[in-house]
Amino acid sequence: MRCLKLWQRIEKRVENSEVGEVEFEDSYDVIVVGLGTAGAMAALAAARQGCSVLGIESLHCMGGMHTAGAIQNYYFGCKGGLFEQVDQQIREQERDGYPVWGGSSAELKKYHLEQLAREQGIELRYESSVIGVYRCGKQVKGVRWVSPEGVHTAASRVLIDATGNADICAMAGCVTRQGRAIDGKGQPYSNVMEIASANRVGKFYTDSGYLDPTDATAVTQAILDSSTVPPQLREYYDGHDRMLRLTPILGVREGRFIVGEENVTLEAFQNEQFTAQPLFYAYSNLDNHSKDVAFESTQFQDWIVAASLWGLNFSVPIPLGALIPQGFEGLLAAGRCLALDHDMAACVRMNRDMQKCGEAAGTAAALAVRYDTALTAVPYARLCAALGATGCLDAEGLRFVDTSLLGNGANGNAAYRTATWLEEIPAIREALAGDKPGIAIWSARRLGTAITPHLRDWAAQNNEPLLRKNSAIALGLQYDAAAMPILREMVRSRDAYVPRSSRKYNQSHGITAIYLLGKLGDREIVPDLLTILEDRAGFCDSPLDGEFIVDDEDFFAQYFTFSLMALVRITQAHPALSGAVRKQINRIVGSGDFALSVTLKGSRELRHPLRETILNVLQ
């Protein structure tokens, strides 16, 4: 094969070189790189369909964060699929001699995954890494990899990148994206430790900060920093919550994403543009761990800030195209690096769904091999049948679940109540008048101008304060200027009212109003926002919720960052204001002693400094 080039990442740059003909040492139908949460299932699914499979893993076991990383519990995700069979076997064994915590015994899951892999003839190569990808044009042909025994080559019909960070896709020259638009940051990472207390074994972690997992220096620093803070580093170890181990893998929630043949974005979801050919459904809420929400996208803030829908779970159909790097053949991505945007990645990353993603990738790869077809041409009917047979693709389809209400039992969510968008005007009015207006606010957005006259009418109802304010919020989402006077009142009074739309992380009316006035480009609110930036002392005795806002600095940081972003948007809408406003902002944040931070989730001590992002915003 004379067209072969070896693609490698060298000092952060992707380079390729002609290699002429290559005598591969081995040849496989499918090579899976990364045998973590997704990759383990990808390898098993491909082998189950009759493929020869090589699994290359940098750790010493299968399962990744789900086993070695100690996150064996399930936070939402859809039930069903191959992993359920493994979990069932574990449940039967762990009754005798294994501590049950979270979803299943991590040690047993490592063991069972490995035994299944052996039974199915998968060649497992631990403590190994891929260092190059062979391509002929856009067709991936194999890998160059290193194990404890040395450097090897192996040919593949299909290569599955389950590294979590799209390391292989990036190495192969695929287009990737990463982080949020404003500063490139993903979600915070965690450093998990396993602990034993008086009567149980468990895990402990907090969010530890932000990390670019594609930067080697940052990775080392993150490991050192997150391992040397309380409770890992204690002045005196007294046996309480005794450490069993620091896990050998950081809990990275977000890295690179491939740009796929199809891309799953929050904006498309909000506009109800869904694939008709899902491989599986992911299911969760927009569980972004960042507290500096003001720096997230407007799509994200419309949902989380304006409508307070943090706790609304929803299912997301994932098509095959979201696993195929755009323009490439013989290469799939599985796991959290699939073709998502940063916003949607907050939802599509949970253990159940990542296992499903792996199963879908392994099955698609196997069908492409069996029918000798391109990955983009794998017949959907056959994929659908194979994934439906294991329960990976469930029949329930799209759904929304309100996790603030105990419920009626949907797939994986017996505890919570199914939610539907409201279509009837009286039902929306009733909800807007109550303390759980989130679904009504979004329902109004869906109805668009058809409901605008009603919203204006309700916003004028002075005798129903919640209806008035919530209607103004709904109008704000429609860019209707009629919302402005009420929103200004909410800003000026620093309205501390917090709706109960979600089970937690609802946004106060004051913050919501600042966000919407920024979107509306309201020049009249500018003096008030500038006052907020300088009024740190005014944010004392703050309303704390013990989790999102744990001290006065947290509360002020929310007001500060939302006000700052609103001012940026307003000056973009009114360039004539820009000079004077920027001068004042620079006076506040430009001084050397300016500092602002938020706590990281799960901790009252660890803080994330915001100064750098703020200065970037201003530049």
């Binding site: 497992l124 040395g150 074994v201 997992p213 040397t228 580093l233 005196y236 005794r242």
Partner: protein
């Protein structure tokens, strides 16, 4: 950009960190995993001979810190996991030059010593090293080199929800129980064959556990070690000119290994004068 270091240390083992601390700016340490001191800590291997005299001041300080923070008793009972935290804290405070999650891919001769190719999240990179000291248990920098270990074990942390549970006694040949620092902190050690890989070792551990003796019935298998406990002959061994294998796992305990790494070159170029293995 190719970087140069007079001394490249492979393995963030206790000996490797000791050696790095001795050389500081004159050395660079690279480690394949995210762990430090792993040949003891991640292997759940508390070690022995805690009474022996330590030669270096940094090792004495590390020992004292372990005592002060209640990780070590005078009898040599150790609470191992936080020892890795202490080592990481030392690396940070001393601003030592270390890259985790970075593996050596290849070593080639070079006019200045060795041209070493490493792989990390940044991709491939060349390092010119005057000398290499590999402190890993298997001499990972040279796959063809290492002799078979003397013995290997796979260890596991046990857990019992009865705080006052008695320490079980095992019959001869049924493995070994080691008491950690705190009540209920027990480590079970299972002997392995020299060529057991992770798959076969894990299978042996679970099969043993599922057929465990009566004395262990009230205990659960909480966590299996992420590293094998490996015993090899003490180094330094000569891999090639200016390339030594100083297996940290060969020392009695984590502080002794740190001490030996720090002091291995005291009194001259000890590493350079050891005969070829």
């Amino acid at each position: 950009m190719t970087t140069y270091t007079p001394l490249l240390i492979y393995g963030a083992t206790a000996a490797g960190i000791g050696l790095l601390m001795k050389h500081r700016c004159g050395a660079l340490l690279v480690e394949r995993t995210a762990q430090v001191g792993h040949e003891f800590v991640a292997a759940f291997h508390p070690g022995s001979c805690w009474q022996q005299n330590l030669q270096s001041e940094p090792a004495r300080q590390l020992h004292a810190e372990m005592m002060r923070r209640n990780l070590l008793t005078a009898e040599g009972r150790v609470h191992l996991p936080p020892v890795a935290v202490l080592l990481m804290n030392l690396i940070k405070q001393e601003e030592l030059n270390l890259h985790l999650m970075t593996r050596i891919v290849a070593v080639e001769p070079h006019a200045s010593g060795h041209e070493v190719t490493v792989h990390s999240a940044d991709g491939l990179q060349k390092i010119i090293a005057g000398r290499i000291v590999d402190t890993t248990s298997d001499c990972e920098s040279c796959p063809a080199y290492p002799p078979l270990p003397i013995y290997r074990k796979l260890n596991a942390m046990l857990f019992c929800n009865q705080v006052d549970a008695e320490v079980p006694v095992l019959e001869e040949g049924a493995g070994e129980i080691v008491q950690g620092r705190f009540p209920g902190e027990l480590i079970f050690k299972l002997d392995l064959e020299k060529d057991d890989d992770w798959v076969s070792a894990r299978r042996k551990m679970h099969r043993f556990w599922q057929n465990r003796p009566a004395s262990l019935v009230s205990w659960t298998l909480a966590a299996i070690a992420d590293r094998f406990e490996v015993h090899v002959e003490k180094g330094p061994h000569c891999v090639a000119p200016a390339w030594r294998w100083l297996p940290s796992c060969a020392y009695e305990n984590v502080v002794a290994a740190f001490d030996s790494g720090y002091g291995v070159e005291q009194g001259g170029e000890v590493l350079e004068t050891v005969a070829a293995h």
